[in-house]
Symmetry: none
Subunit: 152 residues, 2 copies
DNA sequence: TCTGGGGCTTCCCATCATGGGAAGGTCAAG
DNA sequence: CTTGACCTTCCCATGATGGGAAGCCCCAGA
């Protein structure tokens, strides 16, 4: 089948299939006499594998490793497990920090009166708490200033 | 203080500070007579806010809105509140999707023996699609939303 | 047999956030 | 005054992905 069919069947865009081939993630596809890429079910299979892994947040680099494990008869499940667990740790950590920020943001919203008066108390607190400039931008003398040599 | 100090104090690299200024995320810094950018504590504070938001996966566009929340004091508090609440909803939604993903991966990892034998359900699962629900036919759609920059 | 439209090819460009590095100006300590 | 760390701008690269142009190919319909 042509690349378009392979794309719709695998869920990987034709552009991406060519890209994956170009960077060596997948081997070069067979070509028809006129130069069209030609795919079979095993290629589509592999592309689906890649699509799934991308969906789960694996980077291309990680997928390279997964593909190696997948294609290798001697693959060790421990390697696969370690990869997945690393991703999970990564995600859990990120989720935790996102929850922190969501909570903060929610507090901020709840502290707002939500009327037509300007300024939320928390916003003011944030500003005045830290906004006290100390250094002054070194005023005059030396008219030298600033050259913008030739930029666009 | 100079950009280097601001960078180390905020956790945003000097490169990124200039970039943020260039794209208008932060206002142009004051300049010394010789052209050096000059920062005060409020700028550092703002940069730290940005760093945290970036770390949590907010896009620059989203951070623009978040910054308006606490930087723009002339806003009606109702607007501030609505904006904050919208962000919170977005955040909770993303958290939920990330949790789904983490759960799926964790299940897969737990089902993996993690030994020298080659059978690991993760690989089979990846082969046969359906990691966590129906998969949409021709729509690649890289699990919407959160960015996964800089991982393990 | 011709023709039109859609699919295929490669190539270049854009994105977003980030970093590397070059070429040159500035500053502060020795 | 020299030196080395720091700053300035500008250009280029990355990783994944998409957009689009120029040109070739294939098949169905007239």
């Amino acid at each position: 089948m042509n690349i378009g069919d392979a794309a719709t069947r695998s869920g990987v865009s034709a552009k991406m299939i060519r890209y994956y081939e170009q960077i060596g993630l997948i081997p070069p596809a067979a070509r028809t006499a006129s130069g069209y890429r030609s795919y079979g079910t095993s290629e589509v299979h592999m592309l689906r594998f890649i699509a799934r892994a991308r969906d789960l947040g694996f980077s291309i680099r990680e997928i390279t490793g997964l593909l190696d494990l997948w294609r290798n008869k001697d693959r060790r499940s421990a390697d696969v497990k370690a990869l997945a667990q690393a991703r999970v740790r990564d995600l859990r950590d990120k989720i935790e920090r996102m929850q922190d920020m969501a909570d903060t943001l929610e507090d901020l919203a709840n502290a707002c009166a939500g009327n037509e008066r300007p300024s939320c108390p928390i916003l003011q607190r944030l500003e005045t708490a830290e906004a006290s400039g100390e250094d002054s931008p070194a005023r005059p003398s030396r008219s030298g200033g600033f050259k913008d040599r030739g930029g666009s």
